[in-house]
């Protein structure tokens, strides 16, 4: 069963990543990358990394890719004024596929056996355990991450604002 899911999801991730680097339009690349992120989230969940699987969807597919799409939107608006999109069917199909992927992930997570690989205990990879690790052994890197995010925030604002003065 694990092998079957792996083959399907692995083939999908390879196919979508190839589509990402071969697609002529940046928007298609971004959408293919979102699909790759979902496939990887399924693979993470299969290896009992539940928290990381959810973070993958929330942070990568939810936040980082939206940032990419915003920048593509901003640049395209200036590049060709009023260029009409004629890929509505593709967009609808893609939205349906994404909804299906979320369904698969959620169902996979809720029906996950305690030890899918035969190696994991029931607590391995849960939010509580990863959180305990992050707040005890890796507390210093964890806190430094907040400084990194603040620096990135200030840097991004400074870079974009610098020409507006």
């Amino acid at each position: 069963m694990e092998m079957a899911i792996f083959l399907v999801v692995g083939a999908l991730s390879i196919g979508f990543s190839l589509a990402m680097i071969l697609a002529p339009k940046p928007v298609t690349s971004a959408m293919s990358l979102v699909a790759v992120m979902f496939c990887l989230a399924v693979l993470f969940a299969m290896q009992s990394a539940h928290l990381i699987a959810i973070l993958q969807i929330l942070v990568y597919a939810g936040a980082i890719m939206v940032l990419f799409l915003f920048v593509i939107m901003l640049l395209n608006l200036r590049e060709k004024e009023g260029a009409e999109s004629h890929t509505k069917g593709y967009a609808q199909m893609f939205g349906g596929a994404m909804a299906l992927a979320i369904l698969v992930v959620v169902v996979g997570l809720t029906h996950m056996p305690a030890s899918p690989a035969g190696l994991s205990s029931d607590r391995f990879g849960t939010t509580a355990e990863v959180g305990r690790l992050l707040f005890t052994k890796y507390i210093l890197p964890f806190e430094i991450t907040s400084v990194l995010l603040l620096a990135a925030l200030v840097g991004a604002v400074a870079l974009v604002k610098i020409r507006m003065r």
Binding site: L75, L119, A152, A156, L159
Partner: protein, 99 residues
């Protein structure tokens, strides 16, 4: 052995990302390929964490996701600034520091 399959998939995704960085000239797509390579590395981390039954890999992936978010924010700000100054996102046309 499932672990080998995961590692081979991770290597394949990393290579696809590296090829993408080399063949694409749109800077936004190049950054997406970098994100793909980070994700491939994350898959290796999770695979080894599962195999060794050691959650250090999970903590590492957490950090990698945070760094990727910071990188994307700064990198896209650079893309916007570049587009504002040079009216291009082609990495070949931005070569004034090449020497």
């Amino acid at each position: 052995m499932m672990m080998n399959n995961y590692l081979m998939l991770s290597a394949a995704l990393f290579v696809i990302g590296a090829v993408g960085v080399l063949i694409r000239r749109n800077m936004i797509v190049v950054m997406m390929c970098i994100e793909l390579m980070l994700n491939a590395a994350n898959l290796s981390f999770i695979t080894f964490a599962n195999y060794r039954h050691d959650m250090t890999g999970h903590a590492f992936v957490f950090m990698v996701i945070a760094v990727a978010a910071a990188e994307a924010a700064v990198g896209l700000a650079v893309v916007l600034a570049m587009f504002r100054n040079r009216e291009t996102v082609n990495v070949d046309e931005v070569n004034s520091m090449k020497g």
